[in-house]
């Protein structure tokens, strides 16, 4: 019997040696005369266990990890093909690992199970079920379904997706566009990357459905250049989707058309802002546009455009496939559905945790994350990327939903959670926030362009003990100017981490 072994082909797994592990397993099998098939699946998102090697048995898939090169021979010695064996890296049935079992995976239900670019694998796990249904529905019925699901944009701004789509559907224009914001620049986030690398057809399916819903025939995925593997796998998946008739001029036999192309960014964080992204797609400097007009009315090349995040599109196939109500049943109050949280930074168990809204931040950090990797106490957590506030441990009981976070002056954003232990210097972190804004500001509006430069200078003075009280007052004032006066979230939210650092960790600003 052929031994089927899964070794992920995904950035984090590869960054920890998965390629060499796969090669060595193949060699070792050859040496021992074992008939083996190695499948390069995506990652399950249990990153602290990567490279996570799985073997298929009659009872299911057994996991072993993190596997290093030195472990390969001993896995064979232990008879790892039987699954339930004694080995220091043995994890039991992968799906019974509490970290995975205790999640509510809806969008990420398929992640890491299959070969990401295999259409057969995708179809065998409910792939294109949403599209099959969508082709039989009217555009308005599709938009209504998304509205009923309560889905809000997962990029960070949490705008109701159905309403955005309705605006584009209602707009009259010769050409409309679907644009996927895959410029996942927030530190501590990798959920978009995981979708694109480990389940790319889900994103493609979501974009096709969006095209059908608003009457757009051209889609672009604006992908950050920092994701070379996602680029490779997306292009492969798109090529196969064209060959199989899911893209092109006769989508799934419906007679309707949708074209899709990946466009690469070029290392500009600001291009994750939707209007800057559109400028960049048009071949220009990524300068932020004033809103209104909204992109839904006047977007790419001046045409009505849906701009949504990867996770927003990725949620669409299951909303269509399982029904709006199924999705809306998850969640808490006005935050419907699930959010894939990304546990990052100094954590024992970093990775992807998809949960319905409404659970406690504390559980995410300690139950799932297992506390810090360094073993020192947690001191600060930044949620929602570089523009998100720093939270201190007394705030960890906050519920994970958009409104609860907003009440404490924080943002859930794209669901990134970066944990710092007690060695962190929060004045340095505040300085970095301003420094990052200096580096990445598009330069269009003054509060952001100049304010960030002044912000670094003032924080330096505070750290140096130069006229502290007056400079802290000046910094607070500068932050308010940036919040009130900036065109977009870059300048408008950079003060959040700065102000929260100052408020909750004032002792770090004493020299």
């Amino acid at each position: 019997m052929t031994l089927r072994v899964y070794v992920p082909y995904e950035t984090t797994a590869l960054s920890l040696g998965a390629e060499q592990v796969a090669t060595l397993i193949r060699r070792e099998a050859e040496r021992r005369g074992v008939d083996i098939e190695i499948i390069r699946n995506g990652s399950r998102g249990l990153f602290w266990l990567e490279p996570l090697v799985e073997v298929e048995t009659d009872e299911g898939r057994y996991g072993f990890g993190p596997v290093e090169l030195d472990d390969v021979a001993s896995l064979f010695d232990a008879g790892f093909e039987r699954g339930a064996v004694e080995h220091p890296l043995a994890l039991g049935l992968t799906e019974q690992i509490p970290y995975l079992k205790n999640q509510q995976r809806v969008t990420f239900a398929r992640i890491g199970i299959t070969d990401p670019v295999s259409l057969d694998d995708y179809r065998s796990l409910d792939g294109f079920k949403g599209l099959d249904k969508a082709v039989s529905l009217s555009a308005q019925a599709l938009v209504d379904c998304v509205k009923e699901s309560g889905l809000r944009g997962r990029g960070g701004a949490a705008f109701p997706t159905g309403i955005k789509w309705q605006t584009v559907l209602d707009a009259q224009a010769p050409q409309k566009y679907i644009v996927c914001n895959a410029d996942e620049g927030d530190s501590g986030t990798f959920a978009d990357r995981m979708v694109m690398e480990s389940d790319p057809y889900m994103l493609i399916e979501g974009m096709i459905i969006s095209g059908l819903a608003v009457g757009a025939t051209q889609g672009y995925i604006y992908l950050r250049e920092e994701y070379p593997l996602a680029h490779e796998l997306l292009n492969k998946a798109i090529e196969r989707a064209y060959a199989a008739g899911y893209l092109g001029d006769n989508i799934a036999g419906s007679g309707r058309r949708f074209e899709l192309e990946v466009r690469l960014g070029a290392g500009a964080y600001i291009c994750g802002e939707e209007t800057s992204l559109l400028e960049s797609l048009e071949g220009k400097r990524g300068m932020v546009r004033a809103k209104p007009p909204l992109p839904a009315i006047n977007g790419l090349f001046g045409q009505p455009t849906v701009v949504n995040n990867v996770l927003t599109f990725a949620a669409i196939p299951s909303i269509l496939g399982e029904g709006a109500e199924f999705y809306a049943n998850y969640g808490y109050e006005r935050s419907k559905g699930t959010l894939p949280f990304q546990l990052a930074g100094n954590l024992k168990q970093g990775g992807l945790v998809e949960l319905a809204f409404g659970q406690r931040l504390r559980d995410l950090i300690y139950e799932f994350g297992g506390g810090t990797r360094s073993g020192r106490p947690v001191r600060a957590v930044q949620v929602g990327g570089p523009l998100g506030a720093y939270l201190s441990p007394e705030q960890f009981d906050v519920l994970l939903d958009y409104e609860s976070f907003s009440k404490i002056g924080a943002v859930l954003g794209h669901g990134g959670v970066v944990v710092f232990d007690e060695t962190v210097n929060m004045a340095e972190q505040a300085r970095f926030s301003m420094e990052f804004c200096v580096e990445e500001s598009c330069g269009k509006c003054t509060p952001c362009r100049i304010g960030s430069v002044r912000g670094v200078e003032v924080i330096d003075k505070i750290i140096a003990g130069d006229n502290r009280a007056a400079n802290i007052a000046l910094l607070e004032d500068l932050c308010d100017t940036m919040i009130q006066g900036s065109l977009c979230a870059m300048g408008g939210m950079t003060p959040f981490p700065v102000k929260s650092a100052l408020q909750y960790f004032p002792e770090d600003f004493n020299s």
Partner: protein
């Protein structure tokens, strides 16, 4: 590669000509040129401007806006070091300092041997297993001084691959 000036110009003409019909073609054009040469050679600016019917200043403005595009030939390898928060939380600041000291260069500089150029990057999406760096299209996680020393040895002597 034909590195005469005429050869370079011909290559650029071909690359621009094959992409210029796309809507919003400038970024794809710049990517294809940098993929080919490792940077955007100065003569490319005039060629692109004439094909896209824009000014050279427009093209230059776009090149200079984006961190990724460079106008100087880099070293044989470009090492990008992540400076963002999730890596900082895992010792990224100390690691970054180690890298600068070890190579004795700063960001956007190249070692005198022309082997390695150093670049700052803000997030590689490998945030649960930092500090992270990128070499070419390879991202490497859980970096530390010992692993970095080994990497530099490999890059500056010969490419070691387990096949």
């Amino acid at each position: 590669m034909d590195e005469t000036q005429a050869g370079v110009l011909n290559t650029i003409e071909d690359l621009v000509g094959s992409i210029k019909h796309k809507p919003g073609a400038l970024l794809p054009i710049l990517h294809s040129i940098q993929d080919h040469f490792g940077y955007i050679p100065d003569p490319a600016i005039g060629v692109i401007a004439s094909h896209l019917r824009c000014t050279e200043a427009d093209v230059h403005g776009v090149i200079s806006f984006y961190h990724y595009f460079r106008s100087q030939k880099p070293g044989r390898y470009v090492i990008e070091v992540c400076r963002a928060e999730a890596c900082q939380a895992q010792g990224g600041r100390e690691f970054e300092q180690y890298v600068r000291d070890k190579l004795n260069i700063g960001f956007d500089q190249t070692t005198p041997s022309q082997d390695i150029s150093l670049k700052a990057v803000y997030c590689l999406g490998n945030c649960a297993t930092g500090p992270s760096i990128r070499v070419g299209d390879d991202i490497k996680g859980r970096m530390n001084p010992a692993k970095f020393d080994r990497l530099v040895d490999e890059l500056t002597t010969f490419k070691l691959e387990l096949k």
